[in-house]
Point group: C2
Chain length 331, copies 2
Amino acid sequence: MKKIINDPNQVVQDMVQGMVAAYPEALKQVPETMVLARKDSPVQGKVGIVSGGGSGHEPAHAGYVGKGMLDAAVAGEVFTSPTPDQVLEAIKAVDGGSGVFLVIKNYTGDVINFEMAAELAEAEGIDVQYVVVNDDVAVEDSSFTTGRRGIAGTVFVHKITGAKAESGGSLTEVKQVGEKVVANVRSMGMALKPCTVPAAGSPSFELKDDEMEIGIGIHGEPGIERKEIASADQIAEELTAKVLQDLDYTTGEDVAVMINGLGSTPEMELYIVNKRVQEILKEKGITVYKTFVGEYMTALEMTGCSVTLLKLDDELKTLLDADSDAPAFRS
Amino acid sequence: MKKIINDPNQVVQDMVQGMVAAYPEALKQVPETMVLARKDSPVQGKVGIVSGGGSGHEPAHAGYVGKGMLDAAVAGEVFTSPTPDQVLEAIKAVDGGSGVFLVIKNYTGDVINFEMAAELAEAEGIDVQYVVVNDDVAVEDSSFTTGRRGIAGTVFVHKITGAKAESGGSLTEVKQVGEKVVANVRSMGMALKPCTVPAAGSPSFELKDDEMEIGIGIHGEPGIERKEIASADQIAEELTAKVLQDLDYTTGEDVAVMINGLGSTPEMELYIVNKRVQEILKEKGITVYKTFVGEYMTALEMTGCSVTLLKLDDELKTLLDADSDAPAFRS
């Protein structure tokens, strides 16, 4: 295992401290937790937005903490859901009296633990609502999930619910717009090379030298198919086709595109994928409103990418464009 | 070679098209060149800022094209300097009548080709000035360079000269501030794993399973020493010590810090390095003004990182903080 770390069992603690040290004016660590919150939280009168999950998906989730996006992110151990008490600490840290909204990726552990935290917070008198993001069209169930997995599309849910809360939206309004994003976002990914969880020390799966896996999850969960490596154009076509099959994007509404790198994919290659994705959308008569290319939801140093499409109405466009000062999503 | 590409000899062309397709409202490709320019260029009356070099360092350089930063970036083949005629096309595309400033990384090919382009442009009546960035303290000469190499510190030169030009600075003033950044910025890098140039098909060097290289260049050029992998703290200490030895950062001025990933290093690990770098600076009584953690100057999928410190006076702080809408450096 070649990694720039100290103790494999301390990577999350070290990372959280390194993040606060990077942005001390913007972030604070909630004492004795792996929760990073906006320095000015709780913001009185504003709905607080909390997300999180296993670590190893950076910049998700703490990179999205900032004005106009998340109020707090909870960092579990690598690829492991944070515990309910940690999520509860995040909720309490950002409750400004108008309730707290949770953005949960659809993994069994996350759903159970965030729901339990919501119940505990309700018992303490805090209104909590949530949405479960399940944008990955690859598989219906997986080793980590009942139903579809939540992957890079989650970042659009962070951005848009965050903007809605920042603009004064109520907890109900934030939930409505969160559900609207989930209903309109679809993703699909693939990988060429695996990643290694530090505490495990060896790769979580293996792929042959000429092999790729289509539909893989962001923890290395099995996808749809392993087959010979295809060209970037063919990969773009396969991922985009699956997304377009799943939702009708040709109804005259514009879309946002995200070409997401899983950790080790050179940005050059993400732009090569983007070239073909944009051509396909043009051929289908789908108008692109805005494109995001980069590492938004990674899987440690996995090599691969995902394609996400979000159908946008005027409300979603306005919220997507709204100001954010989160370190990993400035707009 | 596991890469998401089409033809290994067409990666730069495909990437450039994929970048324009991603940001059509912000970027344009100068016809029949590998030059990406601001859509609104030339901006009349403003000094134009041009940078570039071999491809494979993305987001450098085209990711830094935008209002407040570069006016154009020239993309050479992977790890290969762009030709003088390409650089000349960039200069002509962004000349708004107040001259053009070139930011050149100190590699022999880049220096020769950019200087030749400057002469050709002067012959066509365009005022051109330039700065050569040589922030890498690792080695004095290398396989690609006479003198020190230019690495991640170059991004600070882009940002600050771009802001100076945007604020109405003259060609002379832009050059002065560019030279001030070069005089005050130092970097040092290391790698755990090599990268593969697509057209070559195999890694440009090899490192044993337990080995790292200190002081390596962003094309895999030899560094100072190969030795057993150390902890993140030890790596942070060694890189930071070399930088601090080279320039007196303890004179009461604040610094900007950049922890740069070379392509495959999980963001988690960059933050772990940052934790120790910030501790060291605090121990030395050096005040950090702003920190940047991420992939700013990569080497395809090389695994490793670099540490950059920039000493800031009030002018540099103002220019570093000024607005930029470049895709890879929004502020």
